[in-house]
């Protein structure tokens, strides 16, 4: 039966094929496991966060639980300096991290895309921190930043930094210290994605440009970069969302300290819900974080004309 159908319509687009081997329910059966898992463990929790955000909900103070209207939101915006501090720090963290990771990742990808002796090994070594977890990254950099035995002691020997205090416990150095640690792991992500996209640039374009006498820098601006644009827009967006949400590294490396100067909004939310058990307020903050992320993403995609025809 299947044969007959297949022979009857040779080059039809997939949608019109109704081979009898394909019951109409098949696509639904195939997406059912994924859909059920996502409904149960993403959609339902998201909805309950929205619900709790309108509630006063604290398991340790049950007598105060109940509907709270927009009190939680009002409190966050008018009466909670920590909310603003952590939001500003999150923005700074995401901006600096994604910007630097993109810059170094792009440069690295361009370098290891060249043909040179030892390229395979070079690529493997350059990309290797990608596979390292946030917690392990913290463990490694805790060793490096240790004031007695870390690499910073040797840097102090040559005049960089000072003896005695760890870079992680000084409020003036902790930001750069954490940025460097996260860069170490984050740059390979961009390098890998950009390198993958570089594989699909047509070699003919470069050859034509070379015939026309275009310099390498011109080739980069007029061929490579336009080709990479969509990949760059998408990977920076995904990475920004990821950097915003990810708490592994800062939670284990600095714990949000010293004196709270490296607390991101998600870390603050985690502390509010896990340590302070203030689920209602934490849910309201989570809702605000969602809205901010969604809004920024839409604006970013609009501004960058993602998928536009100008490529």
């Amino acid at each position: 039966m299947a044969q007959a159908a297949a022979v009857a319509k040779p080059p039809t687009p997939p949608r019109r094929r109704r081979a009898s081997a394909t019951p109409r329910r098949l696509p639904y059966l195939l997406i059912a496991p994924a859909a059920l898992l996502m409904l149960g463990f993403i959609a339902y929790p998201v909805i309950s966060v929205f619900y709790y955000s309108l509630q006063e909900y604290n398991p340790t103070k049950p007598w105060r639980n109940g509907f709270a209207g927009f009190d939680n939101f009002v409190h966050a915006f008018t009466d909670d300096p920590l909310f603003w501090d952590t939001l500003v720090f999150s923005a700074k963290w995401v901006f600096v991290e994604v910007g630097l990771q993109l810059l170094f990742g792009l440069a690295l990808a361009l370098i290891v895309n060249q043909t040179f002796a030892g390229r395979a090994l070079g690529r493997a070594l350059v990309f290797s921190p990608w596979a390292v977890s946030g917690v392990l990254t913290s463990a490694i950099w805790v060793l490096l930043y240790n004031s007695q035995t870390g690499i910073t002691r040797y840097l102090a020997d040559v005049g960089i930094g000072s003896y005695g205090t760890s870079w992680l416990s000084d409020t003036s150095t902790v930001f750069s210290a954490a940025v460097v640690a996260d860069l170490w792991r984050g740059v390979p992500f961009f390098a890998i994605l950009i390198l993958a996209d570089l594989q699909s640039v047509s070699k003919d374009l470069y050859e034509a440009a070379e015939v026309d006498g275009a310099s390498r820098i011109k080739q980069f601006w007029h061929i490579t970069l336009p080709h990479l644009k969509d990949a760059i827009v998408l990977s920076t967006l995904l990475r920004a969302v990821w950097e915003f949400n990810n708490v592994d590294l800062l939670y284990t490396l600095t714990g949000g300290g010293p004196a709270g100067v490296t607390t991101t909004l998600p870390l603050y939310i985690a502390n509010t819900s896990v340590d302070a058990h203030n689920f209602g307020y934490a849910s309201a903050l989570t809702t605000v974080a969602f809205v901010i992320l969604l809004f920024c993403s839409i604006v970013y995609l609009r501004l960058s004309k993602f998928g536009g025809e100008d490529k």
Partner: protein, 300 residues
């Protein structure tokens, strides 16, 4: 650098290439008129120093005796590893992490393969909505859903069971994995499957014989992603597993770091144990990763 300059620097290979087939010449030409060598090796070496010193540092601390300040791991000792593996229960953590990683890999790949096939090959009513949901879920931070997730797993009596972590990891891997896999499947011409039907295969057999082998690089990329992610991920295990017997390696590492006086040797050895499986996976999949990604990842 211009063609003229390049031939000045390296005249021999270019002229030698002139005698070879046109294809070979083109290839040879490119590699020589590209960038001067130092512009590759200098920045690459600087970056490699930055990448490799941290690895060396942790290796050094894990192998040199406690209290030593030598910059080479000599005399070498494996005491830290023994201590961490037995006294600090990294043996148990390792087993748990392997279990979580492997089951997450299998579940993610299977569920995403089924869903990805449906998205790539059929048009059905809720398809657009479903795709939109997949994309939106990228913005949903698992970390911020900890409380409701905890309540769900408590309801299901799954707190302190590895199942809770496996489900949570799988669910948050699924959207991206499914989008990737459906792109890989779209790259396999539908006519190949149709040809197999003509030869008498049913849809399942045709898929298994014709499509599946072509998906190998993509599936390896997606599967190893799922493994490495769940191996590395920390927060779900920290929240859902209170029992020390059930904890995973990242939680163990965090405990070592949180101790009042950090045992740097033990921390380093624990870190090495955490790194070994992902390094092996990474070395194995590296070449698939680039092909897998360029086959369908970033461009939808």
């Amino acid at each position: 650098m211009s063609v003229k300059e390049a031939t000045k620097v390296a005249p021999a290979p270019v002229s030698a290439a002139a005698f070879e087939s046109p294809g070979a010449k083109k290839k040879r030409n490119r590699s020589w008129d590209e960038v001067p060598r130092w512009q590759i090796y200098l920045p690459l070496s600087i970056y490699l120093v930055f990448t490799l010193i941290p690895f060396y540092w942790i290796l050094l601390f894990s192998l040199r005796p406690a209290g030593s300040t030598s910059l080479v791991p000599w005399p070498m000792t494996f005491d830290h590893f023994e201590k961490v593996w037995t006294e600090r229960s990294f043996g148990t953590y390792f087993q748990n992490s392997v279990l979580v990683g492997v089951v997450t890999l299998l579940m993610t790949t299977l569920v995403a393969l089924a869903g990805g096939y449906a998205l790539a090959r059929f048009n059905f009513k809720v398809k657009r909505a479903f795709m939109l949901a997949l994309l939106c879920s990228q913005f949903v931070p698992g970390a911020l859903l900890l409380v409701p997730l905890f309540e769900i797993f408590a309801e299901l009596q799954m707190i302190n069971s590895l199942g809770s972590v496996i489900i949570a990891e799988t669910v948050f891997q699924l959207p991206l994995s499914m989008i990737l896999i459906s792109n890989f499947i779209k790259n396999v011409p539908y006519s190949l499957e149709e040809a197999a039907w003509v030869d008498g295969c049913n849809r399942m057999t045709a898929f298994r014989i014709v499509v599946l082998p072509l998906l190998r690089p993509g599936l390896i990329a997606v599967g190893s992603f799922a493994f490495v992610h769940s191996w590395n991920h920390f927060l779900f295990a920290l929240m859902f597993l209170n029992n020390q017997e059930k904890q995973t390696i990242p939680v163990g590492l965090n405990t070592l770091m949180g101790a009042d006086s950090v045992d740097l040797g033990a921390l380093a050895a624990g870190g090495i144990i955490a790194a070994v499986p992902v390094v092996i996976v990474f070395a194995f999949i590296q070449k698939w990763l680039i092909t897998g990604f360029s086959a369908g990842a970033v461009k939808g």
